[in-house]
C-alpha cells in the first residue's frame, strides 16, 4: 500500500488567484484603472503566497492495517504513515467504497491540518460480512500551505482480507449420540475415567483406592467402589450447502441471506465442537468443493473459518452431489446445513441417514426470503416459480423427516442441543443392523 507515483501539482485555487489577479493588474495598467488593483490585490497576495510555499520535499505515504484478519463486525484501523511531509499543511483521505465495508468517519472521508510531530488520523474500518474483502483501499491528497500545490489524490491499493464469520461462543451441554473417540467431553456409554457418576459396584483388582466408597463398603461388609462414565470425543461432519444464496444480505446485525445463516451456523458449530474436544470435518458443496478433514484444536478451527470465508456460491460442475463420498466413519454426527432446495443433496442426506449415522438438517432459509431475479423476468412469474420451489422444498423436508433426519431451523448454537439429546437416547436403544461407510 505504498505510493510513490504522485507529484506536486499546481492547484486550481492557485491558478485562479494568479489568473484573475494577473488579468486585473494587467487591465489596471493597460487602461488606467487604479481601483482594479484594490479589487484584485487579495487574490494576488493569495497567489503569491501560494507560490512562495512551493513544496521542496517529495512525500511518500504508506497505509497499514492494525489487523490482518478479522471476524465480520470487528473493526480495525488503517493508519497512514507519511514521510517527506515538511511542506504538507493538509491531508485528506477518502476510503474507496467497497461492498460490506463500513468506514468511520461517515462516507470514509477524513481531512485535517497536519501539525508537526502529529500523525495522520486513522480511518476506522469494519467488514460487515464474511468473505474475501478488499480492505483499506483509499485515496490520499496532500496540500501545501495556501493551497498552492497538491500531491495526489493518489490511490492506495487495499489488502484482500479473509473476513471470518462471526462466532457465538457456546459450549453445548448436549451429548453426542455415538461418541467413539478416546478423549473429549461427551459421556460414553461405557465406564471409565470420567467425572460423571455411573454406579457403585463391588471392588475389582485394578480399581483405584480413591474410588472406594467407605460408607457402602462398611455397610455391605466388602469393598465397593464408585464407577464413573468414560468421556470421549465425537466426530462431526459439517456439510455446507453453498449451491446458491437466497435473499439479500445486509451484513452482520442486519438482514441475512441463506448463505449468511449457513456459513455462520457452520462456524458456530465448528467452534462449539472443536472447543469441546471433538474432531470436526467440513465439506462445502460449491464450485470450489472446499474440504477440511477431521481434526481438532484452535488451528484446525481457524482453517475451517478461513475456508468458510472463501466460500463462493455455485453448483459444482465436475461432480454429482449425490455421488460425493462424504468420508464418514461409524458414529460420525452429520450436520447438513442446507435450505434443501436441491433434490440430489436431499438424496445424499437420506443415504447417509440410512447408513445408521445420526444426521441432522439445519434449515438456514430465513423466513420470507425472496430470491433476487434478473430484471427482465416478470415479477409474477418469478413469484410463482419461487412458490413452486418452496412447495418442492416442503416435500423434500417431509421426506427427510420421515427418513429419520430431524430438520430444524437455525436458532443459534443451542439449535442442536435438544436434537442431539434425543438422538443420544435413541442411540442407546438396542437395535439390529446399521453400519457406516
Amino acid at each position: 500500500m505504498i505510493d510513490a507515483g504522485s507529484r506536486w501539482q499546481l492547484t486550481g485555487s492557485l491558478g485562479r488567484a494568479l489568473a484573475v489577479g494577473g488579468v486585473g493588474l494587467a487591465l489596471a495598467l493597460a487602461i488606467g484603472r487604479p481601483a482594479l488593483v484594490v479589487v484584485v490585490a487579495p487574490l494576488v497576495v493569495a497567489g503569491a503566497l501560494g507560490l512562495v510555499h512551493k513544496p521542496t520535499h517529495e512525500p511518500m505515504v504508506y497505509a497499514s492495517l492494525a489487523h490482518l484478519q478479522l471476524h465480520e463486525g470487528q473493526g480495525t484501523r488503517s493508519r497512514l504513515q507519511a514521510t517527506g511531509t515538511e511542506d504538507v499543511e493538509h491531508v485528506a483521505r477518502v476510503a474507496s467504497p467497497q461492498p460490506y465495508i463500513a468506514v468511520h468517519p461517515h462516507e470514509g472521508a477524513l481531512g485535517h491540518l497536519l501539525r508537526p510531530g502529529e500523525g495522520v488520523a486513522p480511518l476506522e474500518i469494519s467488514p460487515r460480512r464474511w468473505g474475501r474483502r478488499l480492505v483499506g483501499a483509499e485515496k490520499v491528497a496532500l496540500t501545501s500551505a495556501w493551497a498552492g500545490y497538491r500531491w495526489g489524490p493518489t490511490p492506495l491499493v487495499g489488502r484482500e482480507m479473509s473476513v471470518l464469520p462471526t462466532l457465538t461462543h457456546f459450549r453445548a451441554g448436549g451429548e453426542a449420540p455415538q461418541p467413539i473417540g478416546l478423549i473429549g467431553a461427551h459421556r460414553s456409554r461405557r465406564d471409565g475415567d470420567g467425572t460423571e457418576f455411573s454406579s457403585i459396584r463391588a471392588f475389582h483388582p485394578g480399581d483405584r483406592l480413591r474410588r472406594i466408597n467407605w460408607r457402602v463398603s462398611l455397610k455391605e461388609g466388602s469393598l465397593h467402589v464408585e464407577s464413573t462414565r468414560a468421556e470421549e470425543d465425537a466426530a462431526v461432519l459439517l456439510i455446507v450447502d453453498a449451491l446458491a444464496d437466497y435473499g439479500m444480505s445486509g451484513g452482520v446485525e442486519s438482514t441475512d441471506s441463506s448463505l449468511d445463516v449457513t456459513v455462520r451456523a457452520a462456524a458456530a458449530l465448528a467452534d462449539q465442537y472443536v472447543g469441546g474436544g471433538d474432531r470436526v470435518s467440513l465439506r462445502v458443496l460449491s464450485p470450489g468443493g472446499e474440504y477440511v478433514g477431521y481434526g481438532t484444536g484452535t488451528r484446525h478451527l481457524r482453517r475451517i473459518l478461513i475456508l468458510l470465508s472463501n466460500v463462493r456460491p455455485g453448483v459444482p460442475r465436475d461432480v454429482a452431489i449425490d455421488q460425493i463420498d462424504f468420508r464418514t466413519t461409524a458414529g460420525t454426527v452429520v450436520v447438513v446445513i442446507s435450505p434443501m432446495l436441491s433434490e440430489p443433496l436431499a438424496t445424499a442426506t437420506v443415504r447417509l441417514a440410512r447408513r445408521g449415522l445420526p444426521v441432522i438438517v439445519i434449515d438456514p432459509l430465513p423466513a420470507g426470503t425472496i430470491p433476487s431475479v434478473h430484471p427482465d423476468v416478470d415479477d409474477e412469474v418469478a413469484d410463482l416459480a419461487w412458490r413452486m420451489r418452496l412447495l418442492d422444498r416442503s416435500h423434500l423436508l417431509a421426506r427427510l423427516a420421515s427418513s429419520g433426519c430431524p430438520v430444524v431451523p437455525w436458532n443459534g448454537p443451542r439449535t442442536l442441543e435438544e436434537i442431539l439429546r434425543r438422538l443420544a437416547r435413541r442411540g442407546q436403544v438396542p437395535r439390529v443392523g446399521g453400519g457406516a461407510g
Partner: protein, 173 residues
C-alpha cells in the same frame, strides 16, 4: 455531488453563490448597476461553480466581475471596491476550501478558521492599496506612476515566490 454533501459544504457553496453576486451588486447604491443579463449569467455561473469548485467557471465568473468593474471605474477610487474585493476573496476562499476533498468530506473547523484569517489578511492588502490610493489622490502625482509602483510591488511578490530557491526542483521520481 449533491447527495451525501456535508452541511459545511453547503454553507461554502452558498458563499460561492453569494460572493460573486455581492461583488457585482455592491455598487448598486452608488449608481453602479450591472445589466440584468450579466447578473443572470454570473448567478448561473456561480451556481455551477459552487457544485464544481475546481472548474474553470469559477475563474470565468470572477473574471467577468473584474472586467465589468474595469468598465465602470475610471480614475475614481470609491469605497465600494473594498466590498467587491471582499466578495471575490470570499468566493476564492470558499472554492479553495471546497477543493480540499470530495463533498462528503466535512470542513475541518481549524482549516476553516485558518482560511478565514488568511482571507482577512489578504483583504488587508486591498485596504492598504485603497488607503494609499486615497492618500495620493490629488497630490499631483501621475496616476500611472503610483499605479505602476503598486503593481510592481505585488508582481515582485509573485516573482519572488516563483523564483525562490526550490530544493526539490528537478528531482527525478
Amino acid at each position: 455531488m449533491i447527495r451525501g454533501a456535508q452541511r459545511s459544504v453547503w454553507v461554502l457553496r452558498l458563499v460561492m453563490v453569494l460572493g460573486p453576486a455581492v461583488a457585482l451588486l455592491a455598487g448598486e447604491g452608488a449608481g453602479y448597476t450591472p445589466p440584468t443579463v450579466l447578473i443572470v449569467v454570473v448567478l448561473l455561473g456561480a451556481l455551477l461553480a459552487a457544485l464544481r469548485p475546481e472548474h474553470l467557471s469559477v475563474t470565468v465568473i470572477m473574471g467577468l466581475v473584474v472586467f465589468w468593474w474595469a468598465l465602470q471605474l475610471r480614475s475614481e477610487m470609491p469605497g465600494v471596491v473594498l466590498v467587491v474585493a471582499a466578495g471575490l476573496m470570499a468566493t476564492h476562499v470558499a472554492a479553495t476550501l471546497l477543493s480540499y476533498g470530495p463533498p462528503s468530506l466535512p470542513l475541518d473547523p481549524q482549516l476553516g478558521l485558518l482560511w478565514v484569517a488568511r482571507g482577512a489578511l489578504a483583504w488587508l492588502a486591498a485596504l492598504v492599496v485603497w488607503v494609499v490610493a486615497r492618500v495620493y489622490t490629488g497630490h499631483g502625482t501621475p496616476s500611472l506612476f503610483w499605479l505602476a509602483g503598486l503593481a510592481a510591488v505585488v508582481v515582485a511578490a509573485v516573482v519572488a515566490g516563483s523564483t525562490a530557491p526550490l530544493h526539490g526542483e528537478g528531482r527525478s521520481r
